[in-house]
Amino acid sequence: MDGDGPALSAPEAAPAAPPAARRRRWVPLALLALPAAFLAAFFLHPLARIVGLGLAPEGSLELGVLGRVLTDESVRSVAWFTLWQAVVSTLLTLAVALPGAYAVSRMDFPGRSLVRAAATVPFVLPTVVVGSAFLALLGPRSPINAALEAVLGSGAPTLDLRRTVTAILIAHVFFNYAVVLRTVGGLWSHLDPRLEDAARVLGASRWQAFREVSLPLLRPAIASSAAIVFLFTLTSFGVVLILGGPGRATIEVEIHRATTQLLDLPLASALALLQLAAVLAALAVYGRLQRRATRQRLVAAAHAARPPTSRGERAFLAANLAVVALLLLAPLLVLVERSFAGPDGYTLAAWQGLFDTRDTVLAVAPGEAVRNSLLFGASATVLALLVGGLAASAAALGDGRASRLVDRALMLPLGTSAVTLGFGFLIALDTPPLDLRGSPLLVPIAQALIATPFVVRTLLPVLRSIDARLREAAAVLGARPLRVWAEVDLPIVGRALLVAAGFAFAIAVGEFGATVFVARAELPTMPVAIFRLLGRPGVANFGEAMAMSTLLAAITAAAIVMIDRIRVGQIGRF
């Protein structure tokens, strides 16, 4: 640095700069500050309050409440129902979706990608919409009953599956079909088809070839999709709340009831602890399954699919397409149809009612809920992108251990049920310095907490995939660290950021479990409004719920379609 001239006086290039490793160490830590604070304030703190309230309701450790809850007959029956409906839902989903996964991944037919996209729609729908759709499909005014009456005459039996386990199970299959289809089908479409060919030539029958070759290779995907479905149905809230009834409540629904109807917070805390334990156990099993995957050669999807040749194969394909049409599309079509149904023929009354203040169910016109949802959803998206983006950047910069830690820590809210989070908000964020009681901010914060894991999961692989030499090249060419980030990372990650935003928005807008605890009465979101409308008698309220559900489905679908258009050529993963 002896002042040879302006051209050589770039101080950053001096050899005195600290070694990269030392300089980098504090960068991830600095980036992590905000996500860590966010997680501590809005996840760990509420969780600690739940544990406190559950184990020490009066301030000192007292296991009596927990013990009473665990031995209580009604709680045991709720826990038992929660468990068995989750197991049966998982098995049913596998039974229906595995043949479907085979059809869309191994059979080549026109419209294949369309079918795959259509089958994914239910998964991204808000649970409240799913509940409404099945209420419409399985209720007495369903077109199914109209069809039955048309065929059998007025003496036809009326199908009414509302408030039955059957309805819950069907809705769970509908909701989770795509999980199995995408997880298992994604792997299946890349399995080398010659492995089964080899087995056939060696003397295996079609079934033996599947059982001996494909099934073991698919087992990790089947197991992990089953674990995800199990987790989703174990923590099922919106669907059960709307479709279930007395004696058909999951732990989630009981937490809600204990909080809002019985006002028994210690009971709710104990239930939340029970739920947490179950979820942690399920996650532990999931983690073990993930680690046991066979290393195998995958082929391009195009090489694995063959057109159906025999009559049996064509019948199999037709049956699966019928399942997609009947199970997956019928509820949505009926939902839309019901939103236009009036006492005599079709009418726009329900849609007009959305923007009519005469309604007394909500403190405001239902249409207000749309505005609230969009506002909250947008705020939650920004928050989730900020927290998730910083955390993902830190994880990508840090070494493997730090990165795994961040990944795990931010996945925690994903595992914890939304209801538990909402309940935790309710009991924890009421004391200074974090007194947010009644604050409308709670809604976007809760939604952001739930959306953040998806943001991290979307951004992290992309950030990790950036070749470190690109950054080095930019630095050698004279870019300062921040400039490197702006010139290299940001353009590459831009696409992923949009995808993450779409995901976060769809999740936030449809979020129900946590929002229902923290949303103020006069500021309902769309799912909350739908739930309240459904809770009231009267055709008008029902129609408005259907119209609102249709609108919510459309908003969510729009966000997802945007993602699908951006994201090209990726294997579906959860």
Partner: protein
């Protein structure tokens, strides 16, 4: 043993195998040779029962199996890139066939041991297939194919993915192994050296049809048409007019045994030598200039631009060899040329 008659396999509008006839006697090694995409792999898959034919008949040991399922045919197929079951050990891969055929545990164990011994992989049974080398995987695939003692063993480009040294070694080992197994072999490759050295008979395939079937030496010395000659690497192939036992070409007039008319003259490798080394001094002579010299280990290959405008390659086994730029006289041995009917030079 194997009789294929009028076999046609189509993918939609694309006819991959077009009305093919092929037979193989018990214990015979037949090599199907052709460029990639000529339909040779499809032919194997159809014989294995993995592709349904649109027409034709396949018989094994006198028994019609055209409509039989793959698992009923009792054939062996070694796939290109092996298709080993990644979730099973070496031994489990080899045991798969005998197990599917319902063999007793002791027989399965013996079949695994014998098959692995045949491919020199004793002691590999417990290794995971993902942890062995490419050459070892190739041997496991072969062992797996022969373990159920198939009546017909089919191999699809078995040496395709191996490096040259390994390939050359296996090329010398395979005939010994085929003899030991004693089964009929159908071997598909795009490599003429593999086909010519292994086969009792070679079938050259082109666009889903056989261009020529015959003993390796016969195919080599008398290719049926320009395509086969070119595919075997023969050059140059010259347009010729035959009149009174002499073929007139741009290069030289060469005495041949052929009927009068338009024809193609195929110059086989070894037909051209330096005039000074020529065994038959009476043969036609041409002269030209050396343009390039390539060292090929035991000999030098000279590229000579002849005055007639045709490029020839000459092998020289003695030193000193002519340098690039030097003029040389070349002799053409009339016994090392062959005449084909004209007509498909363009193809």
């Amino acid at each position: 043993m194997l009789e294929v008659t009028g076999l046609t396999v189509a993918y939609g509008a694309h006819v991959a195998v077009d009305n093919v006839d092929l037979d193989a006697a018990r214990g015979e090694v037949v090599c199907v040779l052709g460029p990639s995409g000529c339909g040779k792999s499809t032919l194997l898959r159809a014989i294995a029962g993995l592709e349904p034919p649109v027409a034709g008949r396949i018989a094994l040991g006198g028994q019609d199996v055209t409509a039989a399922r793959p698992d009923e045919r009792h054939v062996g197929l070694m796939f290109q890139d092996h298709a080993l079951f990644p979730h099973r050990s070496v031994g489990e891969n080899v045991a798969f066939g005998p197990r599917m055929r319902g063999a007793a545990a002791a027989d399965i164990e013996r079949a695994v041991r014998d098959s692995l011994a045949l491919v020199d992989l004793e002691g590999f049974a417990d290794r995971p297939v993902a942890e062995i080398s490419g050459g070892e995987q190739q041997r496991v695939a072969l062992a797996r194919a022969i373990a159920p003692r198939p009546r017909l063993l089919m191999l699809d480009e078995p040496l395709g993915s191996l490096d040259r040294a390994l390939r050359d070694r296996l090329l010398t080992e395979l005939p010994r192994l085929f003899a030991a197994v004693g089964t009929t072999v159908l071997y598909v490759t795009h490599d003429q050296e593999e086909a010519l050295s292994l086969a009792d008979r070679v079938a050259v395939m082109r666009d889903g049809r056989f261009a020529q079937i015959g003993a390796p030496e016969a195919v080599w010395r008398a290719p049926a048409d320009g395509f086969v000659a070119r595919f075997l690497g023969h050059e140059p192939i010259l347009a010729a007019t035959v009149r009174g036992g002499v073929a007139a070409t741009a290069l030289a007039d060469v005495p041949v045994e052929a009927a009068d008319g338009e024809a193609l003259l195929v110059v086989l490798p070894g037909a051209v030598s330096l005039a000074a080394d020529a065994g038959d001094p009476a043969g036609p002579k041409v002269s030209g200039e050396v343009t390039a010299r390539r060292f090929a280990g035991d000999h030098l290959a000279l590229v000579v631009a002849t005055d007639a405008g045709v490029e020839l390659t000459v092998g020289v086994w003695r030193a000193p060899a002519p340098e690039p730029g030097e003029r040389v006289d070349l002799a053409i041995d009339p016994a090392e040329v062959t005449v084909l009917p004209a007509g498909d030079r363009a193809s």
